[in-house]
Symmetry: C2
Subunit: 311 residues, 2 copies
Amino acid sequence: MLIREDEIRPTFGGHEKFVFRNGWLKKGIDAVRVDRLIFTRDEALVTLGVGKNMVRSIRHWCLATGIVQETEGTGLAKPLAASMLGERLLLENGWDPYLEDMGSLWLIHWQLISNPVRAFVWPVIFSAYFDAEFSKKQLIVLISKQIEQLSIRTTEGTIEREIDCVLRTYVPAGGVRGQANEESMDCPLAELDLIQAIPEENLYRFNIGSKPSLPTAVFGYALFIFLLKRLQTRRTIAIEEVLYQNGSPGQAFKLDENSFVDYLEQLEYQTSGALRINETAGLRQIYLTDDLAVSMENRAYRLLDDYYGRD
Amino acid sequence: MLIREDEIRPTFGGHEKFVFRNGWLKKGIDAVRVDRLIFTRDEALVTLGVGKNMVRSIRHWCLATGIVQETEGTGLAKPLAASMLGERLLLENGWDPYLEDMGSLWLIHWQLISNPVRAFVWPVIFSAYFDAEFSKKQLIVLISKQIEQLSIRTTEGTIEREIDCVLRTYVPAGGVRGQANEESMDCPLAELDLIQAIPEENLYRFNIGSKPSLPTAVFGYALFIFLLKRLQTRRTIAIEEVLYQNGSPGQAFKLDENSFVDYLEQLEYQTSGALRINETAGLRQIYLTDDLAVSMENRAYRLLDDYYGRD
């Protein structure tokens, strides 16, 4: 019953060309908690108060961000259910149901980077360019190659729509950063200011460097979830892997080496040394205690629990 | 991402030799709703108030009856979540949270018959003998053959433990039927009186025939779920298939042909003819309208909704 990672087939176009808007994830998870098959019903238009394509888009974004999941069912449509993270974050008494905390936006961004099935282009785009600047044309070539390797048939139009969706997620429509708000059609993730448009040169630029709005807890959550898949048997991992690999926290959050190590040091302090930076013969490694290694997922959630319960 | 039915690998021994007891399913689903990873934690012993093996057994029975499901997770243990059926049946304001209605026991029984992964021997045993009597030895031969066909390695001891578990589920320990109650160690399903022991001859006997305690709604739910997997394109099915096939409602509930047709006639009435019995040239078939065919799962749940809301 195990699904091997190499069997994962990405899906495209689920967003229906919409980026997700303020309130969509909450709307989606609340509706699913009342009716697990809401997205297959005509009533969804009324319940969610949007048109047919937006209903499909809300479903997509709830699944792509992993705040809801497909469950087993007997019918043609799989019933959805809130995920563990979705429940903790978005229920009325949850961590931050209205995503008012910048930490939550970073968390949602990390969720997309970690979903190669429904947000296939995300980790690819975010991990491919160690240089800051890139063009849309470069992205199209990059994604086309990746898709070719997976022997998936698709069209250039499909690829372009995926890329447009990523760009519109992070770049405000007006091009003015820090302006995404409740009334706008922009994705709340535009507030993260991760990608800037340089329209005069037809280029985009990643904002690489320290991220004052990224809480150590969210960095730590992402790091632990990343390590969970890699440190089943090992206890050490080179810092370079976690900083530069495809889908790594370093690439997801576009950190430079200094700010990355800063976070690791804060985490070393917050975990009372259960995670340590270790330097041997010029090779810097992250070292985990056995205790942390066997409870990494719990610790990941506990970091967020502490963060949101901080006041 | 589709799991084909032929890829399903049965699991054995999850019950830890315990049949499920009164209150276990409710206990399990309630605990999972508070903490999706409860079964992986040491606290489970305290939360559930039972020993370590029983904790594992409760987890098994919750999964085998499909009242909870595994969800996607990042760690080694998959988080569990209440299923759609589990929520509707067992929540405080659910249909019958304490399984006080015989209909609920029939429903739980049907769930086991429908779970070839975690209750593999159930549909096999219940569908193999059209004669009423069988011995434990016969069951061992039967199951061994089935397992051989799947190229699964196991031991005769494992097979015997599975069969013992099935027999103890339906045959009260004292051998006296209709005596399963809250204080006893028997499985509540013993009340269904589906299997009787004939100790003097070392045999068991299926109770084949009409089942006055089986509500039409539960029969109908089972029938619709069974048809859902078979009538994706067709609109008719021979009554024999639904009566005699492996895992069919006829075999699950050990009905004879007359009582089976009685249920179909009641269902024809209750669905205002959306399901009809049709006889052409001596071949009796079940016929579904398009309208029923496309909404079969909803209709299945609605039957139960109406049944439990009847008073």
